[in-house]
Each structure stands twice: as C-alpha cells, then as structure tokens.
Amino acid sequence: MFDLASSQMIVYGLLAGFVFGFLLQKGGVTRYRVILGQFLLKDFTVLKVMFTAIVVGAVGIWGMRSAGMDFPMHVKNAAILANIVGGLIFGVGMAVLGYCPGTGIAAIGDGSRHAIPGVLGMIVGGALFAEVYPSIKDGFMKLGDAGKITMADVTALSPWWLIAALGVIALVLFVMLERVSPGSAGSAHGERNIGVGHSD
C-alpha cells in the first residue's frame, strides 16, 4: 500500500508542484479575497489565469500531438450527472473555504492560517466520499456516462476549430474584463489586505 514512485517521478512531481505553487502565489490566487472576489464578480483574476492557461495549454498540447509527438491524454469520464452534482457541491465548498484544492494547499506556504483546517477538511471530505462511493458506484455514478469523450468527439469537428473558438471567446472576455477589472490581483484594488488579515 505504501509504495513509492520512481525517483524520476518524485523529482518531476516536486518540480511541477514547486513551479505551480510559485505561479499561483505570484498570480495572487493563493489569497482568499481574490477567490471570493471572483465569485462576487469583482476581481476577475481567477478567470484570467484559468482561461489563459487553458488556451495556451491547448495550443501546445494539441499542437505537439498534431506534430506527431506521442504522449497519453488524460480525459476524465463524462459521467454527466456526477460531473454536474459534484461540481455544484464543489462550488459550495470552495466559496465557503475560499480556495480550491491546489490554491488552498499552496496558500499554507503563502501565510494563510485558515487554509490549514481547510486542507484537513479536504482529507475528511475524501474519506467521506470513499465511504459513500460503494453505494453509488453502479447507480448514480454511471448515470449519463458517455465515457472519456472530448468536445471534438461530440461535435465531430477538428479540435483546432474548438481551440480557435475558445481563443476568440477568451480574447473577447479579456477585452471586456479589462474594462471592468483591469490589472492583476492586489494591484487593482490596492494592497490593503497584505499583512493585515485580522490576525489575533
């Protein structure tokens, strides 16, 4: 049960996590107020980071595959009902905690004390799901199951049309957002929270 990955995979994991955590902190998304600012539609940093990452990531990964490079894709099962209900539950928890799993764990390194009980809660949430899973795995978890499909499969379009569409949507969104909420997290609304945070 307590198996260890190869030393190469350990180094790869440590490197990827370090860079990911570094970028999340520099982007300001390891901050509670930036995450809640997104859900309250005031600070759009989260959407800007995510949509840029998705479009840049898609161009590179589909591009490398088109160029003949061979590496596995990791598409998750479209068990539509579980995706929707799970997503709805996730959103409630994320708005209460003020972090998603990745930003919450990174936030501990960025000085967020309340992220620590948040991460402990995540472990308990995982345990709870494991207890519930056996009773829903053959019913609820299979409802609307379409397998590991992409939007390219569904629409029978080239992925490049979809990536182009995504790029255009992102661009229009960004132009609009820069009018509502310009700049980066922190700089847009001042740094007034840094070093304050109602500690004790």
């Binding site: 990827a16 520099k26 390194g109 309340h114 472990i123 949430g125 992409t150």
Partner: protein, 182 residues
C-alpha cells in the same frame, strides 16, 4: 532577476506559465496537473493505519491502492502536492511579503472575527469541496485546467457547474455588500 521579486505578476503571464507547465507535464512527464486525488488517497492511508481491512474492502480506495495494477501511493501527484506550498512560500519570500491571515476581512465583515468559527467553516468547506471533487472526478486543476485544455466534456460540464454554484454561494453568504471587502 527582478521579475521574481515582484509581488504580483500579470494574471495573463501566470496563465501562460501554467499553460506551459502543462505542456511539460503532459509531454515530458506523461502526467496531467491535478491535485484532488491526493487528499482522498491520504484519507485512505490514514484510515488504513487504523483499519487496514476496511480500506482493502472499500471499492473507492481499491481504485488507487491496487499495487498489482501499478498504482502507487506516493506518486507524482503526491510530490506535486507536497511542493505546492514550498513554491508559494519561495514566491512570497522573494517579494518579501509578510502576509499572515487567520480571519479574512470579508469573512469578518459578515461572521465576525472569531478564529474558531472561521477555522470550523474552512474545515467544513474543505470537506464539502473535496467530496464534490471526488464525485465529479477532479478539481479546478485536474478538470478545470488539464481537462479544459483537452476539451473534455466532463471538465467543461464540471467547470460551469462549480462556477455557477460558487457564485450563488458567495452571494448568498456575503451579498452585494461583500464586494466592498474584496
């Protein structure tokens, strides 16, 4: 380099960075950025210390702890999760940020300054969130970014559901007035 000392990077630059990181993860490491499997596996490991036969009999943990199928407890993602806070800590130190937060201003404006209350809410929020992530099959990283860029149907469905629900929850908790505190 001066850039490393900047407290905040432009969100588009950060997005490009995460996008490029996912190229390296996919093509170089044969992995997709993701986080939420690890807390669930950690839960199984912790439960396994107290009740190993319970974990062995559980069909959810079985998906992740099957050594015969090449499944590894301390895998790539485990080490990614381990070094996430280190990356964030170094990023904060480089810009000499001295940030600590126990009760965020927005939270305090609505629910008061009690640390115990905030910590309890954070705990429950984390539990609810991860329950949802495991049901949906991923989180904002695994579904949102990695799944989004693969154009996965499951991931875009998750993304829309979680964003709508987070928005409704945030407005229900803090209302429009909450916007003055973020």
């Amino acid at each position: 380099m001066n850039l490393l000392r900047w407290a905040r990077w432009n969100p588009y630059l950060v997005g490009i960075g995460i996008g490029v990181l996912s190229w390296i993860a996919f093509a170089g490491m044969h992995k997709a950025l993701g986080v939420s499997t690890t807390p669930a596996k950690f839960a199984g490991m912790a439960t396994g210390v107290a009740a190993p036969q319970h974990v062995e009999a559980n069909s959810y943990y079985g998906k992740y702890f099957d050594s015969d199928a090449g499944k590894v407890m301390f895998d790539w993602q485990f080490f990614l999760v381990l070094s996430l806070p280190i990356g964030a800590l170094v990023a904060a130190k480089l810009s000499r940020e001295k940030f600590t937060e126990t009760v965020p201003a927005l939270w305090a404006s609505r629910f008061g300054g009690s640390k115990a209350k905030r910590y309890a809410a954070a705990f429950v929020g984390g539990a609810v969130m991860l329950f949802g992530a495991r049901m949906a099959g991923g989180c904002t990283s695994g579904h949102g970014i990695s799944g989004g860029l693969q154009l996965a149907v499951s991931s875009w469905v998750f993304f829309i559901a979680m964003f709508a629900s987070g928005l409704v929850t945030a407005f229900a908790l803090f209302g429009k007035d909450g916007r003055q505190h973020v």
